[in-house]
């Protein structure tokens, strides 16, 4: 599962820790999501999409090359 979390976060000038704090998860979790090592649960994916004001399918999308 690919995602745009890193791009959206840096566009807003947020550190991983700040986004983690807002989402109620650890900084490592945000880092793992950004590096495609962890696929978040549906509630967390929706929360991230809402945080960035984007549709969830715009933030998370299937890795078609895999």
């Amino acid at each position: 599962m690919k995602n745009q979390v890193r791009e959206l976060r840096t566009q807003r000038g947020l550190a991983q820790g700040q986004l983690a704090e807002a989402m109620g998860v650890s900084r490592q979790t945000i880092n793992s999501i950004e590096n495609d090592r962890y696929t978040p649960s549906l509630p967390l994916a929706i929360a991230l999409a809402r945080f960035f004001g984007r549709p969830v399918e715009e933030v998370f999308h299937a890795d078609r090359t895999a």
Binding site: M23, G24, S26, Q28, T29, Y38, P40, L42, I46
Partner: protein
């Protein structure tokens, strides 16, 4: 500007704070104390002291490393975030698989040497039964 975090909280928990390390130390001390007392009652106070010191060292790791996010998550238990709970679940399953493998191998070893296979037969039966109960329970809930 980022929007406010949504009110949807399913799957998300408040981040565990560094204080969890002290709780882990207290639990370790309590468990170590029980082990020491049990060993003392069983006539092995020195072995009990050794167990107690191991538990103290284990608990101290949580206090010394309480600023580490990983240590905080380990100490948080069910309050850890969803990724850590997933890691914890898989680590627990791996540990369970290792124990069950050892129990089965030990059971086979015992019966191959003409012994009854106890206590490994009982441990294996408990593991199998617990798995079936969990399977039925989780199937019923989902």
């Amino acid at each position: 500007m980022p929007t406010e975090p949504p009110e949807v909280t399913g799957g998300r928990r408040p981040r565990p704070q560094a204080g969890g390390g002290w709780w882990a130390l207290l639990v370790s001390l309590a468990l170590g104390g029980i082990l020491w007392a049990a060993s003392w009652i069983g006539g092995h106070p020195v072995a009990g002291l050794f167990s107690f010191l191991i538990m103290v060292a284990f608990g101290a790791i949580f206090v010394v490393g309480r600023r580490s996010e990983s240590i905080r998550m380990m100490a948080a238990g069910h309050r850890a975030d969803e990724r850590w709970r997933s890691i914890d679940l898989r680590a627990t399953a791996t540990a369970g698989l290792a124990v069950i493998t050892v129990v089965i191998v030990a059971f086979i070893w015992e019966i191959a040497h003409g012994r009854s296979g106890q206590p490994y037969a009982l441990l294996g039966a408990i593991a199998g039964l617990a798995y079936l109960v969990a399977l039925v329970w989780l199937r019923w809930r989902s």
